[in-house]
């Protein structure tokens, strides 16, 4: 339970991070809240030679509204996400999901960026970001680029981040009026990763669903954007048949591993139950204003 030895770096600016990453290449690893990385290091499942601590980097923290979009610095902690009333007002699913992550101690240090960039299909934030159609702002020596959350995840701990790049911020387009959001997570106990969880956003206008997005946590090798499930809802009254179709479409793309959370059939079934629950909750919220 003791990590292998490593060099520790504590840059103060984004540019310094970029040049350290360029210099160290594969050997360098950024450290945010440490609540995914350090446990892996203690088990020696991760043995980075260099840790680049982002804690002292200026400009990576905070929540702001920029040109109509919500802008969240990568180093904003999960606890800060929960604390922000403005954010809860604009995009309530973030608080709802963050409250279901781990426990207060972990959330006090764990960051939104670390959760998004980690690449573990068990993380809760990625599916939420897919449902709100967020864009990740990445910085490297070639400058800045953005990648949609829906395109970011490639495999277990494999993401669109190139060597030398890191995540500086997340941008979330302002949710349309009349949108309801919900994140439903089934877990064994507080602090546990999901048996299955589903994030849903949907907007109804005049009783008809104009927008819908469904995304799933921990039921595949990556977080899953359930495109067919999303389109199954659009244009419908989100009635029983539409919900059933969406649930079926969502379950169809799941491919969870059997683990101590349960066998494959259970976890797929649970994904269906959570999807149904999330759609119904989001719908009720959309209708409730």
């Amino acid at each position: 339970m003791i990590p292998a030895s490593f060099e520790y770096h504590r840059p103060g600016s984004v540019d310094e991070v970029v040049s350290l990453l360029a210099e160290l290449g594969e050997e360098g690893r950024v450290l945010a809240g440490g609540h995914s990385l350090i446990p892996m290091m203690k088990l020696r499942l991760a043995e980075p030679a260099h840790l680049i601590d982002l804690t002292g980097v200026e400009g990576l923290r905070g929540i702001a509204e920029v040109e109509g979009a919500i802008h969240i610095g990568a180093m904003t902690t999960q606890a800060e996400i929960i604390k922000s009333d403005a954010l809860a007002e604009r995009c309530p699913i973030l608080r709802e999901a963050a409250e279901l992550i781990a426990d207060p101690q972990v959330r006090a240090l764990g960051t939104i960026g670390g959760n998004a960039a980690n690449g573990d299909p068990g993380n809760d934030i990625p599916a939420v970001m897919m449902a709100v159609d967020a864009a990740y702002v990445l910085r490297g020596s070639d400058g800045e680029r953005t990648v949609a959350a829906r395109d970011f995840y490639q495999g277990p701990f494999e993401t669109a981040l190139a060597v030398g790049e890191f995540l500086t911020a997340i941008r979330i387009p302002a949710p349309p009026a009349g949108q309801g959001q919900a994140y439903c997570k089934l877990k064994r106990k507080v602090g546990d990763y999901a048996i299955a969880a589903t994030a849903v956003t949907l907007a109804v206008d005049g009783g008809v669903c104009g927008q819908a997005a469904v995304a799933l946590t921990n039921v595949g090798i990556t977080p899953l954007y359930a495109e067919a499930a999303s389109t199954a809802l659009v244009g419908t009254a989100v009635d029983a048949a539409a919900v059933e179709a969406a649930v079926e479409a969502a379950v169809a793309i799941t491919d969870p591993a059997a683990d101590l959370r349960g066998p494959v059939e259970y976890r797929r079934h649970a994904a269906g139950v959570m999807t149904r629950r999330a759609i119904e909750t989001a719908l009720a919220r959309a209708k409730g204003g």
Partner: protein, 801 residues
């Protein structure tokens, strides 16, 4: 000398803080300030750290071990392997169950994470780096995880070291992977009862492998003083005196040269009774290096290697008449003991007190068979917060009663009332040989039913069932058997299972008591002081209780199996009475009257009929050192060794109500009512705390705890991420209650309570879960009742959509 009485007897009684009061725990002042002194707080000058290279395989031959690279790591001092321990004959050690256990794997590994080499370094970091660089070349062997397969003809032989032995300590063997066969009861009479029965029921009931998982893991610091030849061993020991004896036997040092100290211990629950390779390696390391060696287990090591509990594959059968009156019981058990038989029980009891399996019921005849089996799993088989194998027995009988009730269609409370041992039958001799001391089971169950509104709950359940909802009501009316034990049938390494207490009353009226037990969080410093306060009339605040240092405390067998109150507290009470006897002689001298003219009055002796003429214990204490009658020795000091005449039999009536989500399989515990009868109650608040803790553990066991192995013998989920340790969020609210049926043979009438809630809690939860499905024909569901398992039942029944 004579004193005007300003306080009433009741006021003086209250000032003592003795038996029966809710005294706050003395030890909490340091615990809640973070000022406890646990094993990892102990830092000795020049101390070094040791930790293990562990096997990644469950069964493999060790072809070679190369430690050269590890030794080259800066800070690594030494790497011990079996080859190094062999010349000292310490590569294997005897177990408490008559078997032997590898200290460091000798030619073969028998379970995943088995100790293969011990790396000693200047600090933990260097030790961890060294461990990673020890090269072990393994040749994998076929793995046996299922104890049933282990007994098949031609199964791979696990323990080659004992394959030709007829016995490995605890009875006849019939297969190289078989450890023992143990039977209790009358087979012929039982067969007859079944043959003639109007009704029989049978159920396969598995009590899964779990772990006590105390918050503090195991550890030790061994410090050999080369000059004096004295070894000091600090460690997380529930039984420090026994550890000293074992170390003496293994290491060949006289006990007078060994000092074992258990500092504050952060929970034991059975995990800290036995001896582990870490202790031996730390001792050897310290002897060889002449420096103190510390070994501290990680959480993963703790759950995956030291002392699991349960793992009993049971088959229960009941014979009954058509009204549900039990006429016979059969229990067959396949006991998975893992790689070595290291279970910790009184030595004559290979299956502990499993033959308490007739429970609270008047069963005329029974027969029990237990077969111990080796598998490629970690060794252990301790009593996790229960007396020896009692929780398995209670689980079996409490489940079987429900199965029988369902079969004949009577209510689950009613089946119990029909079968209870009646109050007038006590002392009751069970057909399997136990003499139950006292109890009133019907009164307890009726009080419980009234408290929860049992009839209404059943009505509500019927309404819910009509609507397709699942609600379950679980009852457990268990009997524990605790307080090992009488010297005629309880010993460890031949040492009888007595308990001891020494009391010294000091000149100015305070006292120090030392005992052979060891608190691991139960509050002994408080409760013993209360008992002694009542016995000797000195306020409990002025009584310091010390345990856990073999240099100062009298020999005792330690704390486990709820034996502290039945045995240790009896020694404390009797030591107090011996103090009082001498005090009476001194008082007679002080008051110039005959002893016969004195009567005890809370905190003093008073001359009969002359209430104003008295000598307080405070004054007597000073007189013991200053003003003695002729012929009496100075001082006021005694020791008592108590050999209990019988076990005590605490009991309880628990009722649990659950709702089941048929879509997800999640269970929500709506209410849990626990009535405990532990005889005389020494500190009701501490009892309640013990019940809360034990119920929380029972909840963990019933709802999620399990050490799981895959087919390769990989241990899965040995961390708190997976191993279900309930937090305050999951833990239900506990409602506690009590009746008081004193033990007739215990000096205080007390029985012990710490383990009852674990013993009775598990079947109450499990019965509630199964009861939710009873109307659908379900008679048993495997524990733990994790959501996925419950969902599987819903899915099979087609009710999960």
């Amino acid at each position: 000398m004579s004193e005007t009485k300003t306080e009433t007897a009741a006021e003086r009684e209250a000032a003592l803080g003795g038996i029966g009061c809710d005294k706050r725990r003395k030890e909490d002042a340091r615990f809640i300030r973070g000022q406890g002194n646990y094993i990892d707080d102990i830092k000795l000058p020049n101390m070094v750290f040791g930790d293990f290279v562990r096997s990644p395989y469950a069964h493999a031959r060790i072809k070679s071990i190369d430690a050269e690279k590890a030794k080259a790591v800066p800070g690594v001092i030494a790497v011990l392997t079996a080859a190094d321990l062999k010349p000292l004959n310490l590569h294997w050690m005897p177990t408490l169950a008559g078997d032997t256990q590898a200290v460091l794997a000798d030619e073969k590994v028998h379970f995943q994470n088995q100790e293969v080499a011990f790396v000693i370094a200047e600090d933990r970091y260097a030790a961890a780096d060294g461990i990673q660089l020890v090269d072990v070349d393994y040749e994998e062997l076929p793995v046996l995880i299922d104890p049933k397969k282990a007994l098949e003809d031609g199964a791979p032989i696990l323990r080659e070291d004992v394959k030709d032995k007829d016995e490995v300590g605890q009875g006849p063997r019939r297969h190289p992977n078989h450890i023992f066969n143990w039977q209790s009861g009358d087979k012929d009479a039982t067969d007859k009862a079944f043959a003639g029965a109007q009704v029989t029921v049978k159920e396969e009931i598995f009590y899964q492998r779990v772990h006590p998982a105390p918050i503090e893991t195991c550890g030790c610091v061994a410090s050999m003083d080369a000059v004096s030849g004295r070894l000091t061993l600090y460690g997380t020991f529930q039984a420090p005196h026994v550890v000293r004896t074992i170390v003496s036997l293994i290491a060949g040092l006289p006990e007078s040269k060994i000092r074992v100290i258990s500092p504050d211990v952060g929970g034991g629950f059975g995990n800290k009774v036995g001896a582990y390779p870490g202790y031996v390696c730390a001792i050897v390391g310290s002897i060889v290096l002449g420096r103190p060696v510390k070994w501290i287990e990680s959480r993963i090591d703790n759950i995956s290697t030291t002392a699991f509990a349960r793992d009993y594959h049971m088959t229960g059968e009941l014979a009954a008449d058509k009204d549900g009156k039990i006429t016979g019981l059969r229990a067959n058990v396949l006991a998975d003991h893992g790689a070595f038989n290291t279970h910790a029980q009184p030595m004559k009891w290979p299956a502990g007190f499993f033959n308490i399996v007739t429970g609270s019921y008047d069963v005329p005849t029974a027969h029990v068979t237990v077969d111990g089996v080796y598998t490629n799993k970690a060794p252990g088989g301790v009593s996790y917060r229960c007396s020896f194998r009692v929780t398995e027995a209670a689980y079996l009988i409490e489940r079987m009663l429900d199965v029988l009730a369902q079969k004949i269609g009577v209510d689950k409370a009613e089946i119990r009332l029909r079968n209870f041992i009646k109050p007038e039958q006590f002392p009751y001799n069970s057909c399997l040989g136990w003499e139950y001391d006292s109890g009133d089971y019907p009164a307890a169950l009726k009080q419980a039913m009234k408290a929860v509104g049992y009839e209404d709950l059943r009505k509500e359940q019927a309404e819910k069932r009509a609507r397709g909802e699942l609600m379950g009501i679980g009852i457990a009316t268990f009997t524990e058997i605790v307080g090992a034990g009488p010297s005629r049938n309880c010993d460890i390494l031949g040492i009888k299972m007595f308990e001891s207490c020494e009391i010294r009353v000091h000149p100015t009226g305070s006292a120090t008591a030392r005992l052979g037990t060891k608190s691991t969080g139960q509050g002994h410093e408080t409760t013993y002081a209360q008992i002694i306060a009542t016995e000797i009339g000195i306020p409990s605040d002025l009584i310091t209780v010390e345990e856990g240092d073999t240099d100062t405390a009298p020999y005792g067998l330690g704390t486990y199996g709820s034996r502290t109150t039945p045995v240790g507290a009896a020694a404390a009470a009797r030591a107090g009475r011996k103090i009082r006897e001498k005090a009476k002689k001194i008082a007679a001298h002080m008051l110039e009257v005959s002893e016969n003219d004195l009567e005890w009055d809370v905190d003093r002796f008073t001359v009969k009929g002359v209430p104003d003429l008295s000598a307080t214990m405070k004054d007597i204490a000073m007189a013991a050192y200053s003003n003695l009658p002729e012929g009496l020795e100075h001082g006021l000091e005694v020791v008592d060794y108590y050999d209990p005449p019988n076990m005590t039999y605490p009991f309880g009536a628990y009722i649990c109500v659950v709702d089941v989500n048929r879509h997800t399989g999640e269970i929500s515990v709506r209410s849990f009512y626990a009535l405990d009868d532990c005889g005389t109650r020494i500190n009701p608040m501490i009892i309640e705390g013990q019940v809360h803790g034990g119920l929380t553990e029972a909840f963990g066991i019933a709802m999620g705890q399990e050490i799981v192995y895959d087919d390769m013998g990989n241990v899965l989920g040995a961390s708190f991420l997976d191993y279900f340790m309930p937090t305050a969020v999951e833990t239900p609210h506990w409602e506690t209650d009590h009746t008081v049926t004193p033990s007739p043979h215990h000096p205080l009438g007390a029985k012990g309570v710490g383990e009852s809630p674990n013993v009775g809690g598990v079947p109450a939860f499990s019965n509630a879960v199964v009861d939710a499905f009873a109307h659908l024909g379900v008679t048993h569901m495997p524990m733990p009742h994790a959501a996925w398992r419950v969902w599987q039942t819903c899915h099979e029944l087609g009710i999960d959509k």
